[in-house]
């Protein structure tokens, strides 16, 4: 019991140890101030999106360019929320693989449906494929960079397995 209580002492360092894969390259969680900064960034991006809507309404921008910009901004906001707020960036790589991998595959599936019904122009394939490819490459590069400094998945798995006896399930 004494052992249990000592292992359960709620200290920030213990909570940090319990956290699976505290981000490759990230040591600890972002501060509240950083989250506020991220929220401000998201609000700014939303304002830009709304601005683009009115710019298009004024016919000051080509519709194709406007759609591309809006989709890119939405993708960026999606990535920011998923990476930072949902802690995907700091969590175990497995979560990232399941979510991003599934999302990309689902995206291709729905792009196929939309193209089959003629709901999107053919060049959309290029945009989506390009964006997906860029995301995958960036993720791979980032993982490679931080893998080199913090060890590979096996280390993570073993580390988690050993240390998450306390945290696991």
């Amino acid at each position: 019991m004494a052992t249990a209580s000592s292992t359960q002492s709620p200290s920030p360092s213990r909570a940090d140890e319990d956290m699976p894969a505290l981000g490759k390259g990230e040591h600890g969680h972002p501060s509240d101030l950083r989250f506020i900064g991220i929220a401000v960034l998201l609000a700014v991006l939303t304002a830009i999106e709304v601005g683009l809507y009115y710019v298009e309404q004024a016919e000051a921008i080509d519709q194709r360019a406007n759609v591309t910009l809006l989709l890119v901004l939405a993708a960026i906001k999606f990535a920011i929320v998923a990476g930072s707020f949902m802690h995907l960036k700091y969590d175990h790589p497995q979560f990232k693989r399941y979510f991003i991998g599934g999302g990309v595959l689902a995206g291709f599936c729905y792009i196929a449906v939309l193209a089959a019904f003629g709901a999107i122009p053919p060049w959309s394939w290029l945009v989506y494929g390009g964006v997906a490819l860029v995301m995958v490459v960036l993720a791979a590069v980032r993982n490679k960079v931080f893998d080199d400094s913090h060890g590979d998945d096996h280390d993570h798995g073993d580390h988690d397995h050993a240390d998450h006896g306390a945290h696991a399930h």
């Binding site: 019991m1 052992t3 249990a4 209580s5 292992t7 359960q8 709620p10 909570a15 319990d18 699976p20 969680h29 509240d32 989250f35 506020i36 991220i38 929220a39 998201l42 609000a43 939303t46 999106e49 709304v50 683009l52 809507y53 009115y54 298009e56 809006l70 901004l73 939405a74 906001k77 999606f78 929320v81 998923a82 930072s84 707020f85 949902m86 802690h87 175990h92 497995q94 979560f95 399941y98 979510f99 599934g102 999302g103 689902a106 995206g107 599936c109 729905y110 449906v113 939309l114 709901a119 993570h156 798995g157 073993d158 988690d160 998450h164 006896g165 306390a166 945290h167 696991a168 399930h169």
Partner: protein, 210 residues
């Protein structure tokens, strides 16, 4: 005194078991509950992907109005979007507060998140009633059907999220959420952030792209 864990534990409170006996390690090395939530969110991606794709397939094919440009109030919806965005911020602040052990602040942020979510739902209900008065019903045209189903499903998810938030706040108030099982709040947070992320896509694809 409270070290010995009861047999039935709230979600996520697995610290004691694993720490004492090492008997509840997972095959994947990650929390089962968290993994389950991520897999569930993956399935929700498919659901909303299907609804959004359906909207896009039928976009611009309604034979009669009202059409999107006739009913959409972009400034109002932008405000709703901002409210939901801020609720994501308060949610993540609740998670970090729980993680720090600051349960009072965590409850404040959880309730604030729920309130912001309720404001968003109120905005959606107002928007729906305005659209209805302007003649856009579920069966009016393809736009009405796809729009109401998509945003209605999203609204239902937000409502469920509000219930989860209030439940988490209540559990925290009853002392059932501790720094050992703070992951429960994080899991609720994952669901809430996902709901926000889906709205990001809906707002852009449905409202902003003509």
């Amino acid at each position: 005194m409270s070290v010995a864990a009861p047999i039935t534990e709230p979600l996520g409170s697995h610290g004691e078991h694993g720490g004492d006996h090492g008997a509840h390690t997972t095959a994947t090395g990650v929390s089962n509950e968290k993994l389950a939530m991520w897999v569930f969110l993956g399935s929700e991606c498919l659901l909303f992907g299907a609804l959004i794709a359906t909207y896009l397939v039928y976009k611009g094919r309604s034979l009669e109005g009202p059409y999107p440009e006739d009913v959409f109030d972009i400034p109002f919806t932008s405000l709703s979007s901002f409210v939901l965005l801020m609720s994501s911020l308060t949610m993540v602040l609740a998670v970090t507060a729980t993680r720090r052990g600051d349960h009072r602040r965590s409850r404040i942020w959880l309730i604030t998140t729920a309130l912001l979510g309720a404001v968003f739902i109120g905005g959606q209900i107002y928007e729906f009633t305005v659209f209805y008065k302007e003649g856009l019903k579920l069966s009016t045209n393809l736009f009405g059907s796809t729009f109401y189903v998509l945003t209605g499903f999203h609204g239902a998810h937000v409502s469920v999220g509000i219930i989860m938030l209030l439940s988490a706040a209540f559990m925290s108030w009853r002392g059932r959420i501790t720094q050992r099982n703070w992951e429960s709040v994080e899991i609720v947070g994952l669901y809430w952030h996902f709901v926000d992320v889906i709205w990001i896509v809906i707002f852009t694809v449905i409202y902003l792209i003509k």
